[in-house]
Amino acid sequence: MKNLKRVEIVTGTLEAPKVVAILEENKVSGYTMIKNVLGSGEKGFQDGEGLHNAFQNTYIIVACSTDEFDQLKEPLRKLLAKAGGVCLVSDAQWLLH
């Protein structure tokens, strides 16, 4: 088992590629992505009722080391400040294989 940070990001589906870009720029190649996610926040409801991605969120989970997260931190903050969304960070253990 190895300790690491569990970073989860929710933002508009159209913004998600930007999140992935940030991950790749920082050589974080491992992430999980769930599309067609709904929700509510400062920008009001994302209820998926519009017939377009713009009305849906994407949920991204990244398990990475503390150092990797420290690199992601700033660019993620900037992106979410502009695009809206949330980024939660918690501690987790990786079952190595």
Partner: protein, 283 residues
């Protein structure tokens, strides 16, 4: 499916345009369309602003200033059933009328918004990008050009692909849309009588405007109906999406169901035949 519909209507338009050529008549019609594409969102905005937030006003104005391709295509099919001809340039008119309303809507919002939070998420660049790199616009214009250049040949080659199945596709698609529209109806609780009234009355007003203009300019019956339908219809995909991104403060629970659950079915079921009969009666 919609992809297929847009493609074949575009090709059809292009081929017909290759026939007719670009006459002054064509240019006048296109001119009117573009003009209206800018005027409609403006006047609706000022009506809406009386009762709703600046953001919702701009969003709804943009939605109704733009067009619904499916409504247009249904009207075209309606005309074909009655063997009433229409000019291929009307397809270009549709494409031209899709985007301006978005820009106008956002401009008006930025003029009237009290918080001076211009820029950031709704920077003009991103708006223009949204407005212009709109998939369907590109697709229609693209297929229009193909049809235009390909002329006869394209028409013939694609005939089986475009004509035979077209009707069936459209029916299927309208059914799907109808079901979607039905699902959105309950979202209208929030809208309130003013906006619900708006989503029926404004299309009618725009239709009347269109009918008068076409009558004054002596535009053919077929072209008139299509122009009127463009004015009367509201966007329920492209514009709402662009607005959602550029004006998050506007409530999608209003502009989406108004356009999708009221105006769209209204135009399909009642609007098109009624507009047509009025136009015919005037000529």
């Amino acid at each position: 499916l919609s992809l297929y519909l847009l493609l074949s209507i575009g090709l059809k338009g292009g081929v017909e345009l290759a026939h007719s050529g670009i006459t002054s008549n064509v240019l006048i019609t296109l001119g009117v369309t573009v003009l209206m594409a800018f005027l409609v969102p403006v006047y609706t905005f000022y009506i809406l602003k009386k009762k709703t937030s600046v953001f919702d006003a701009g969003a709804i104005a943009a939605t109704y200033g733009s067009i619904s391709a499916v409504t247009f295509i249904t009207a075209a099919a309606f005309l074909r059933d009655l063997d009433v001809t229409y000019g291929g340039h009307m397809v270009a008119a549709m494409a031209l009328m899709e985007s301006p309303a978005i820009i106008v809507g956002v401009l008006l919002i930025n003029i009237y918004r009290t918080d001076n939070k211009n820029g950031s998420s709704n920077s003009y660049k991103s708006i223009l990008k949204e407005a212009l790199t709109n998939g369907s616009v590109v697709l229609i214009l693209g297929s229009l050009v193909i049809g235009l250049l390909g002329g006869e040949k394209a028409g013939v080659a694609l005939a089986p692909f475009t004509d035979h199945i077209f009707k069936g596709m459209l029916t299927l698609f309208l059914l799907d849309m109808g079901i979607l529209a039905g699902k959105r109806i309950r979202s209208l609780r929030l809208a309130g009588p003013f906006l619900i009234g708006f989503s029926i009355i404004i299309p009618i007003v725009n239709a009347i405007l269109g009918i008068v203009i076409c009558w004054l300019l002596g535009i053919s019956v077929g072209d008139s109906l299509l122009l009127v339908v463009l004015l009367a219809s509201a966007s329920y995909i492209a514009v709402p999406a662009a607005i959602r991104l550029t004006v998050p403060e506007a409530n999608p629970g209003l502009y989406v169901p108004m356009s999708l659950a009221i105006t769209f079915p209204f135009n399909i079921i009642i609007g098109i035949p009624v507009y047509f009969h009025v136009i015919q009666w005037l000529n």
